[in-house]
Subunit: 393 residues, 2 copies
């Protein structure tokens, strides 16, 4: 196949097509995000997270019976081993929650007799397990680190509601459950971003599902990736009042910095997810009795776009992190759980990609990711350094 | 810069140069592996693992004072928190050791107040910590899973000797200490292989050292990568006697399979590390009173090469895994620790690469790895699938 030639060295592989995929498509110019053929806007408006899990793992939207089946599977897999709870209790309460999740995933493997099973059907079962259990791990950790007892999952509740119930220890408001379910749908998949690429890279060595997902969590923990919505919230807190938005924008532009949540590597228009999150952030703010963060966000979006246009002549667009920040904050979720919330949704996409990486062909793909590098270090001699013994150094 | 155009899609990035590096060079055609300018053959013959750690992290071979300093630092950082020992004790004894290591690394982050410190000097300290502690974690796990008490590190011993002491619970034979030290030197670094690429990929999001190294362990756990020397040993056990080597080769060739440990993605000649490992495998076998595995290996190398040449007309070369298998086995190390041994050495290279990824320039490199993918899935409509509500599915 003829491929376009792109520079690949020291570009972070931007614009370089590394693989074909059937999991999702991002049409940046049109602001479209598509999971297995379906617009994320349709999915967010009309499906639950469980339906999206089925779509991603089984490559089709479920019918009623299939939906019931995947719900039952997810519900049955929510519990986590008592031994893992004990392990979490050994961790200092100020541990970074992303580190907790990254550690917990290979520890879950220790309790899964199918961990090393290389069969595709086992991989799908492991995916379901991980999607179900990662939420429980996160909720358990939030309880443990705040000195509370972990809440057992409630099989009567769907995934979103049950997570909030385990997190807060009480039945959550139905509006918030809906908002959170939509947020789970919106964050479930986004093609070859850094964390998904990490998952696929690890899976390409035939490492198991847990190893790959743990690596993805590590990648997501970086502030350039999953940490972005935290930085949005920190920015909103720094601004603090609506009347300070304009001054903040001017300062940022004067200093040549960026406005967190504006701009995206892929979209050349507003991120389709932002427009779905915004009204939910508003309503969640109203429910919490504090709409300030949403209000600052809307003014910041409008004035920030105008200022970039006026002063730099460029159009800048709102991304997914811009309104998820104020939504999660209004829901009463701790700032350092924002990235972990991303993880408990994106695990659906990661696992779908791992399955594709390992089983898309007739046999596991033999080409593990093994790029080249160009050595630009010194050679001390004509070919390489003449070795100098310790006594002569 | 003008770069050669290589196909990138679905090729596992083979032959694609993704970054410049000063850490190491592999000259495949000449069978040369170079760490920061020095031939690995020189380093293996004349340096210790501690000197190589200094070379990789500080970009120069240490003088006597610097060597003493890095030894002191490594020795001082060997201990692991009691809480981590407690966490390991919660894990089932049949846990995969690579899963244990992958989980333990982010748990070490929980106990490191500098975990999230983005300063370069802190990154180097974290590198030293990880190199020191990963060996202790592995030895502790081996003790725990076999019902023994973890052995505290002995500050009077160097890294290689101390590891074997913690693993076996007694002062190890001095020849074995030397062999293991050389093995640590030989496995410390190998440019952008899959695990190193995973570490750099995770680091590129500005995730911390522990997150990146944990991901690398996940990548190394795959049987196509760190699992290769285990498969060599399994093959040797399947062959079992020297007189069955030829029949084994014929069977493998008849079935179009590969001989484990023969062939490498990068070298077009014998792996320089193999010729250093081979005599150590022989001597370790003699010390253990069982040279069979080494004997099978040498015959298999000779006859395997000849058979590939005769029947397929191709030259095939011995790689690093071919003789490390019988060396480790003769040292009395459990098969499922072979890949973890790789990890406790390669962590030196991984951490050097993470530092380069994050601090090679004046500021943290802004281009996180974010490749493109090509969507080859279906669209159910002209642009994308028309959404079908649940009731109509």
């Amino acid at each position: 196949m003829q491929e376009e030639c792109k520079p690949t060295m020291n570009t972070g592989l931007r614009g370089v097509t590394v693989a074909s995929t059937k999991v999702s498509d991002v049409i940046g110019a049109e602001g479209k995000l598509i999971y297995r053929g379906y617009l994320v806007t349709d999915l967010a408006a009309r499906t639950s997270f469980e339906e999206v899990v089925h779509l991603l793992l089984h490559e089709k939207l479920p019918d009623k019976e299939e939906l019931e089946h995947i719900k039952q599977q997810l519900t049955a897999e929510r519990h986590i081993p008592g031994a893992l709870i004990d392990a979490l209790k050994t961790c200092p309460s100020d541990s970074l929650p992303m580190d907790i999740l990254q550690a917990a995933v290979p520890m879950l493997a220790n309790h899964d007799p199918e961990a090393a099973d290389q069969n595709k059907e086992a991989a799908v079962r492991k995916a379901v397990r991980l999607i179900a259990k990662l939420a429980t791990v996160l909720a358990a950790w939030e309880r443990i680190r705040t000195g509370k007892t972990p809440v057992s999952p409630d099989p009567a509740m769907d995934h979103a509601e049950n997570f909030l119930y385990m997190l807060f220890g009480e039945k959550p408001d139905s509006d918030l459950v809906h908002f959170f379910d939509v947020a789970l749908v919106l964050h479930a998949e986004h093609s070859f971003n850094a964390s998904t690429f990490a998952a696929r890279e690890v899976a390409s060595t035939r490492a198991h599902m847990y190893a790959a997902v743990s690596a993805a969590i590590g990648s997501l923990s970086g502030e350039l990736h999953g940490g972005a919505n935290v930085r949005v919230m920190q920015m909103l807190k720094e601004i603090d009042t609506v009347d300070r938005v304009k001054a903040y924008i001017n300062t940022v532009l004067d200093e040549g910095r960026l406005i967190m949540g504006l701009g995206h590597a892929v979209y050349q228009t507003d991120d389709p997810r932002a427009h779905i999150l915004a009204p939910m952030a508003k309503r969640a703010g109203e429910l919490a009795g504090e709409t300030k963060w949403y209000d600052i966000s809307t003014v910041l979006e409008k004035e920030g776009k105008a200022a970039f246009k006026a002063r730099k002549g460029i159009d800048i667009y709102v991304n997914v992190d811009f309104y998820s920040a104020s939504l999660y904050y209004a829901m009463g979720i701790a700032l350092d759980l924002f990235s972990p919330l991303f993880a408990i949704s994106r695990v659906a996409g990661w696992t779908a990609h791992v399955i594709e990486e390992q089983y898309a062909g007739a046999a596991p793909k033999p080409t593990l990711y093994r790029p080249q590098s160009k050595y630009v270090g010194e050679y001390c001699g004509p070919d390489e350094c003449r070795f100098v013994p310790l006594d002569e150094r």
